[in-house]
Symmetry: C2
Amino acid sequence: MSLAFQIHAESGAARRATMMLPHAAVETPVFMPVGTVGSVKAVPQHLLEELDARIILGNTYHLYLRPGHELVRRMGGLHRFMSWERAILTDSGGFQVFSLNELRKVTEEGVAFRSHIDGSSHFFSPEHSMDVQVALGSDIAMAFDECTEYPADYARARKSLDLTLRWAQRSRDHFEAHKHERPWSEGFEGKMPSLFGIVQGGMYPDLRRESAERLVEMDFPGYAIGGLSVGEPRELTREIIAATLPLLPKDKPRYVMGVGYPDEIVEYAAMGVDMMDCVLPTRAARHGLLFTSEGRLNIKNRRFAEDQGPADPKCDCLVCRRYSRAYLRHLMTAQEPLAAVLNTLHNLAFYLGTMRRVRERIEAGLPVTDLKMEASQSA
Amino acid sequence: MSLAFQIHAESGAARRATMMLPHAAVETPVFMPVGTVGSVKAVPQHLLEELDARIILGNTYHLYLRPGHELVRRMGGLHRFMSWERAILTDSGGFQVFSLNELRKVTEEGVAFRSHIDGSSHFFSPEHSMDVQVALGSDIAMAFDECTEYPADYARARKSLDLTLRWAQRSRDHFEAHKHERPWSEGFEGKMPSLFGIVQGGMYPDLRRESAERLVEMDFPGYAIGGLSVGEPRELTREIIAATLPLLPKDKPRYVMGVGYPDEIVEYAAMGVDMMDCVLPTRAARHGLLFTSEGRLNIKNRRFAEDQGPADPKCDCLVCRRYSRAYLRHLMTAQEPLAAVLNTLHNLAFYLGTMRRVRERIEAGLPVTDLKMEASQSA
């Protein structure tokens, strides 16, 4: 199966492309804000649109538990349910099943786990994950994989990868048989969701190679590199990405899951990554950590108490145009709910703005990595 | 001292007027959203502007404790600190000193109390309350009063009123001597904040009369009726308002503090009240209680789980135009921070819209009370 992915320009290994999804034309490289359970936390959808977000992430595990995928399907799918007409990518649920459940039991068939909300018993298989993602109506679904823990020895990583590869085939077969059951058929005649494969293999380049080659044989419309940002040193993350990217088809989108800091997303885009997502800008915002062109600010710090400047003097987001660091600090100190709203808006503006500048540099044929130094400063 | 308050139309006892404050022309009758500690909780200022809020309330007690009135003054005043260019009314701090402090000690000089945040010791006198309000830079400041508790016997209410009247004179004297020290002199040449007197007297009409007459002798530019919504039955609230309004000058604004439900604000406007404020629409929103033309909705109720309709079919606010009851319920159930944002936006739209319709009816010479029945329905 294919997905329209048109590459307009390249600069070094970086690519500037447009990915045509049923609900949106997404300009890549792209950073996707995370909307865990049907909301990018604290941000109204019309302000996400003003930020020019074209695609957001939904978490299959969370949405399956609450409000439930069948309810979402009856409401017309996740786009209509949350009133977000642009694109949505859903993960497979695998990562949360593994990270939020200490009592999970993995078998060939799938994973038994207990809800982190009420302790109730549930079972996810590749087929069930596909059913849930089709019911949610994502533009891009992800294959159900086992996210190999870190550290994992070679034998463990090998065994985990083999299971993930069998699950990838089952995911693909079930998804292709059922993708037409998406809830948004009306007005989308002939448009179908896409399923991406996920490269695993722990921190072993030969396993990563085998994983990539086997997935490419299965012919997915896009490929993710999973199992990173699980506690490994950052240099190792970069090495694994560098080793894996050349193994993936050049004409299809490549997605690194769960990254990263601003300088990381610039670096990975420079290496040829097209898509990234991370809770960092949204989660950090709720704790008062702001990303700026001058580095990271802990806005709760007393030194900002009377700082009349904007969070980021180079930022033109609605927060920086209007509010001072002193006010943002006060909102955190007084535990005002507006703190999460404004901090999140700024951090997303910074991340999306960073990627917009990455795209502009690729279009201009300029080296992307020049942006990295700036993004890595720490105030 | 006078305040430009131009009455355009009347319908029964209700008046339609424009109150010219330094930072805004406020159309009355008006409902003022409460922005306790420098933020109408969960709502960005530009969305308050989109709701056409012209005046909001700030709480002197909260702002004095955090971030501190001297800091706010150094930041250019509350308007600039919170980036709200329209009007602000501040209460005197008296109500919170009395309601949030069990260990307060009242003397002729003022009230000693402990911070509800860290237990530190503080003292508020009429003079200090004026200093704080001038430093905050409110368009309308309120006299420092003792909010008589309910129930209070006659002797207690008498004694409390006498203290409040002496404090009113001290408030007025100090305010007049210092109001020019407001932090927003630049660009506001010749414009000064106004101080309103507060009628007390418990639930005793003769004490209310004495309070009103004595305050009118002091010649305030506007008058509030305080000491209501303190636990008394609603019929008694109405009686006290009805008994007090005729004692206040017709050509000056009349403000009932701390009310109320939608049908109450309509009723009081019909009786001739010009200004009201209440935490109800904002606080209830955070608990999932929505006010609508069909009555109150507890949006957490299971019966809304798959309700695709808007919170209020007759409402054209940004929440009702875009989101379903099912989604709003989901946000509450999943404890998403967006719930507070959207619920608050809707409730404020409903309150401000209700008052807009009250004003339209007065302009058209129609009875205002016809609106009351609709607002009092309970779904």
